[in-house]
Structure formats: C-alpha cells, structure tokens
C-alpha cells in the first residue's frame, strides 16, 4: 500500500461518482447560492471529490473509505482546513496507525506544500498525539535544505525543540546554515532562540556570541541580520550598548578603514545616544558624532531613510539638552 502512493499520479483517477462502492452516497454540490449560466470549467475531478466530501461531512461518516476520500480532497486542495479537521476526527474514530499518517503528511510537506499552514499544523497535532518527535528535526532540515527561510519549518522546529528539549546540536546546525547563507535571518533568529532557551546570555556566552557575530560581520558588513543579532546580544550586556570594548574597538577599526555600512553607522549613532542619555561627555561617542553620522546617513549612505535619520539627530539633540539642563538645575 505504501508503494502504490508514489504511483498515484500515474494511475488514472476514477471519479467517485463512477465507483460502485460509493453508490449509496448522494454527492452534495457546492452551494454558493448561484445558478451558473456558463459551463463549469474547473476540473471535473475537483468537483467530484468535493461533492462527495461534502456528503460525507454532512452524514458524519467516519469510515476507511471516508479517510481515503479526505486524502484525495487534501491532495486537491491542501488549504481546505475543514478537510484536515475531519480527517483528524476520522483518524481518532478509527484509531488509525498514526505512524502511517506521519509518512503521508511528510510526503505532502516535503514534495508538495511546504508553505501551507494546514499541513504543518496537522503534523504538529499528530506529533502531539504520538508524543514522538524523533523525526521532526530531520523533516524540517529536509524542507530547509530546499528553502532555508521557510517560516513554517522554523516555527515547527522551534516548537519541537522547546517541547521535547532537543536543543542539542542546534547551534552547530545554525552555523552550517549561516555558512551557506550568511544573510539567513531565520538562522540568526534561531541562534537567539537557542541561547535564550539554554544557557542564557551569561558573560561567557555573551563574549562567545559577540566573537561569532563580529567575525561574521567582517565577512559581509552589509548584513542586517548580523548587526541586529549583535544589538540583541548587547541587550544583555550589563554595561549597555556602548561600553563593550570588543564591539567599540571593532566599530572604530571598521569605520577608520573607510567602511560606511549604514548598519555600522547606525550602531555608532546609538552608542552616542546612549552616552548622551547618561550625561557622559565621551570624546568619541557624543552628540557631535551622532549628528554628523545622521547627516551622512540621510544625505549619502542611507538616503531612503532620510526622515528617520533626521528624527534620530533631533532625538539625540533633545537628550543632550535635557542632560545639560538637569546639570544646570543641580548646580
């Protein structure tokens, strides 16, 4: 039986209305409240299968043949969530072997519909029923090998890892994906997820992640994901954004080498903003620097976001004035 499923596309589909074993069922046509005035031109197979599905849904039949019918219906329209709901009810009613179901859904996900909400949710439900997650990492890896940013695959993978505590090896996996595509935002997001779910950003881990991210930025400085990740990591630095020596040295070196990546400049601006808010008169990370960089970003390096940079310059200015007036008030 398992072998024949791969041959399905080659055998001729027999319409349900022509099947002897379905003679007892009256098909229910789609009722959109209209009388068609032109010939129906959607495929006959589609109409046939769904007319019979509606009949079975109405009668509440939960048999083997109904289960097969939901398979055909799901294959024709995998986005039809009512088909999947009903299939789950039949699976329960017949107490079916869920491992077979796992094989079935795996084929649909991998070969057919990797970006469909319903098939992934169905997989999740079956895994929950079985309380068996040993195949899930491999499944998501197979899908991610074809599309490394598949949102559903990542979501499923996070659920599996969190629910069944399968964090082991995940950082290595993420690393391999980042090696393939350093700009894979999903992989960078996953890195944060793993650290937060395991060690947390301890001083040691913070240092490790900063090293990792900075070496990645060295390779491609115009990588939004890496810079966002760096900021995310620095959120956990007790000293804040602007006092991590490794990071500040790195940024200065990069800037001095002539690099004007908008992400680099944006981070330096935020470092200035932080210093200004704290009332420090840093020789480098100050209002002057912030305003200069914002101007360069608005006029040259990130012109599409000019309005944003103008706002940031104003904001840092206001913070500076506030600090100055507070100092004046205290004196």
């Amino acid at each position: 039986m398992a072998e024949s499923s791969s041959d399905e596309s080659e055998t001729t589909f027999q319409l349900y209305k022509d099947r002897k074993e379905w003679k007892d069922v009256v098909p229910v046509p789609q009722d959109d409240g209209e009388q068609p005035i032109v010939a129906i031109d959607y495929t006959e197979q589609f109409k046939d299968v769904f007319d019979y599905f509606r009949a079975v849904l109405q009668s509440g039949e939960k048999s083997e043949r109904a289960l097969e019918l939901t398979k055909d219906a799901a294959a024709l329209n995998p986005a039809n969530y009512t088909v999947w709901q009903y299939r789950r009810e039949i699976l329960k009613a017949l107490n079916k072997d869920l491992n077979e179901e796992m094989d079935f859904i795996e084929k649909i996900i991998v070969y057919n519909q990797p970006k469909n909400y319903q098939v992934w949710h169905h997989r999740k439900v079956i895994v929950e029923w079985l309380q068996e997650a040993s195949k899930e990492k491999y499944l998501t890896e197979t899908v991610l090998a074809k599309d490394a940013k598949n949102y559903h695959a990542w979501q499923h993978r996070q659920w599996i890892i969190k629910t069944f505590n399968l964090y082991e090896g995940e950082l290595e996996y993420i690393d391999s994906l980042i090696s393939d595509d350093i700009r894979n935002n999903s992989a960078w997001n996953q890195r944060y997820f793993v650290v937060m779910g395991t060690t947390g950003f301890t001083e040691e881990v913070l240092d490790r992640e900063i090293d990792y991210t900075l070496s990645s930025i060295k390779v491609v400085t115009e990588n939004e994901s890496a810079w966002n990740y760096l900021r995310g990591v620095l959120l956990h630095d007790k000293c804040g954004l602007s006092r991590n020596k490794k990071v500040t040295d790195f940024c200065q070196d990069l800037y001095n080498s002539g690099n004007r990546s908008p992400f680099l400049l944006a981070l330096i601006v935020d470092m200035c903003s932080e210093q200004v808010s704290q009332g420090n008169k840093d020789p480098l990370y100050n209002l002057e620097m912030a305003k200069t960089l914002c101007k360069e970003l608005a006029e040259k390096y990130d012109t599409v976001r000019a309005k944003y940079w103008e706002y940031i310059a104003e904001t840092v200015d206001k913070k500076s004035n506030k600090e100055d007036s507070q100092v004046d008030a205290e004196q």
Binding site: Q30, T43, N185, N228, R231, T303, V304
Partner: protein
C-alpha cells in the same frame, strides 16, 4: 551568496484607477464563480469577499456593484447573494467558516464581521453569540486559537479576536478586566501580555514567542496594542526602525519586504505602512520610491495589482496595493482607509465603541500628515 532581486520595468504607469474597478467587478460578480480559480479558493472565500468589497468601496464602486442583479438574470441582487452566502456560513457555534459547510475559524469570523460592517448588516447576526465564540478561543496564556478543535496558536488570531470584538462594539462588554463576574469574556491584559511576548530582540513580532519577526505578524500585534491602548508598552522607535528597514531601494523603486533579505511584495507595503501609521511614523518611509513600486505592480491589461512587477494579480494584492497608495497620499481618488482594520475610515467612524474610539481618532489626527 548573491542577493536576489526582482524584475524592474522600464516605465511605471500612473494609477490605473478605472482598470482596477473593472478588474474588481469582474472577480467579484457571481458569474466569476464558475472559474477554477474561484472554486479552488473556497477555503479562503470569506476573506476573498472582504478583499473585493473593501477594494470596491475605496474605489467608490461598491454601491453600484451591490445593486446589480446577481448573474444578470436572477431576481436577487449581488448584495443579497453575498448576504445569503454569509448567513449560510454562520455556524451554530457562533463563528463563521470560510465557505458553506466549513468549520468556524477566527480568520473567517473576522472577515465575515468586516463584510457585515461594510454592508451595514450587523443586525442580521447575533453579535453576542459571535463574541462568545471568540471568547472560547482564548487560551490560558492569553493567546488565541484559530478554531475550537485543534487549536493552532498564532498572533494573527489575537488580532482577529480583538478587532472583531471592537467592530461588534463589544470589546468593552466582553472585557473580563472590567466585568470580572461575567460568564463570557476575554482577559484583555493577558491577551496583551501574550502579544508582548511575541516581540523579538530586533523590535519586530512573530507568530508565537521566539518566532522570527515578520511584517504581517507585526501588523497584527500592533493592531492589538493600538486597539487596547497598550502601544506605550513597547519601544516604538525600535520597531518603527525595523519596519522602515523593510524598504529596498532599487533605482526609482523602493518596495517593502516582510523580513530581512527577502524580496519585496505589495502586501508587505500594506502590513508595514499600516503599522507605521499606527506608530505615527509613516513619514519614515521614502514615499515616492514605494509609490513607484506599487504602481509598477499594476496589470495594465486586466487591471488589478500583483505582488511584484510582471506577476499575476489577485484581489488580495489589489486591495493592499490600493490601500497602501491611499495611506501614502498618492491616490486622492480613493476613499480614506483605516490603518487598523483595513476598512474605509467612514465605516470605522460609525462603530460605537467609545473606549477605544478616542484613542484611534487621536492617532489618526496625529498622523494626518
């Protein structure tokens, strides 16, 4: 490691206003119902109708369309046909399915309520029953499931729940914080808490806590926070920056993507723009570049708008493209659209929900630039 890019046309048409009306009328009318495209999208039908009708309304073509006889020969109008369909999708549990015979689902319940509000036919349904259905979908952690059978959790459903209750003018009445001994209701604080947990280190929001930031999810989460007056609980500047980083300048065009390093898509123009509008930061986008992008996605032959230049158009992208242009002030022909509900502003103005109305009005006035 090459960066992918899209096809850029040599010239960009002006807003093909009349062509879009032609397209929308074609895909909305009853005789279109025989096409394969229509039949095979049955499981999202309710949303399809909402997209079409809203787009028709903002192009000032809804009234005329609704009065047309269905199928050119029947004694009922298109409006009656649509209302009949809607009522057939109204299930005993109080929710709506995507089409006749489909299980109730949060997504299609919102779409149905949006349609009823648009048609001013809310009195045809039991609003409290719908609200009760919604309240049964809230989980212990404050999140919302899509249905009451197999509970898929998604921050989209949080938005559907809150927006729906607001449109039904029952957000206040069903707020357990305000009416703790009510037998039915939602815990708004917990709903907000769950949404806040979906915020990531980059300022964006995902489907569930930990999920990658995604512009569509951002719209839903910001929508919840706007309606519940909880926007002050997030770093709005950080999020607004993440949102304006979605703009991808390429020559004259500057479309928006949904997350870093992905291709631009007209629907993200809506999710990102409306979010920026709610945050009061719409001016952070380069309007001209985005307007060019959306206009480049129009189909000059059939009318309608697609995700990218040169692709096939559909009602979903047509609505969001038009709505985006209106928000950008590039289409004075169009009716004003409300950023929170993606419904015409005049429709939202008529909703009687005092607890939030002032807040939304204040936001609107502040953002009127």
């Amino acid at each position: 490691m090459e960066k992918k890019d899209i096809f850029y046309p040599d010239t960009v048409p002006i807003l093909l206003y009349n062509k879009h009306i032609e397209y929308l009328k074609h895909v909305s009318c009853s005789s279109y119902g025989n096409s394969y495209d229509f039949k095979s999208t049955e499981s999202i039908r309710m949303s399809g109708i909402y997209w079409c009708l809203t787009a028709l309304d903002i192009t000032h073509s809804l009234k005329e369309f609704l009065q047309k006889p269905a199928n050119n020969s029947d004694s009922i109008s298109e409006e009656e046909r649509i209302v009949n369909f809607l009522l057939q999708c109204y299930n005993p549990d109080g929710g709506f399915g995507a089409a006749v015979g489909h299980d109730s689902h949060m997504l299609y319940t919102l779409s149905a309520v949006q349609i009823l509000v648009l048609l001013r036919k809310l009195d045809l349904v039991d609003k409290h029953k719908i609200a009760r259905f919604i309240s049964t979908l809230q989980q212990v952690d404050g999140s919302f499931a899509g249905d009451n059978k197999y509970s898929e959790i998604d921050s989209r459903f949080s938005f559907c729940a809150i927006a729906c209750l607001y449109l039904l003018s029952l957000l206040d009445a069903f707020d357990l914080q305000k009416h703790p001994s009510s037998p039915f209701g939602i815990d708004t604080n917990k709903a907000v808490d769950f949404v806040l947990k979906c915020q990531n280190f980059d300022g964006g929001f995902g489907t569930v806590p930990g999920s990658e930031s995604h512009a569509g999810q951002v719209y839903c989460c910001i929508g919840v926070l706007t309606i519940t007056r909880a926007l002050h609980k997030i770093d709005t500047d950080l999020l607004a920056w993440w949102l304006c980083e979605r703009q991808l300048p390429s020559g004259r065009l500057g479309g928006l993507n949904g997350r870093p390093e992905k291709l631009p898509d007209v629907c993200y123009c809506w999710w990102v723009l409306s979010s920026l509008k709610m945050l009061g930061r719409l001016h952070w986008i380069n309007k001209e570049a985005l307007i060019f992008y959306i206009r480049a996605c129009q189909d000059p032959e059939t009318g309608g708008i697609s995700d990218r230049p040169g692709d096939c158009c559909d009602p979903f992208h047509t609505l969001f493209g038009l709505a985006g242009l209106q928000l950008l002030g590039a289409a004075s022909e169009l009716q004003e659209i409300n950023a929170v509900f993606c419904l015409p502003q005049y429709v939202v103005d008529a909703i009687e929900e005092d607890c939030c109305l002032d807040q939304l009005r204040a936001h609107r006035d502040k953002n009127a630039k």
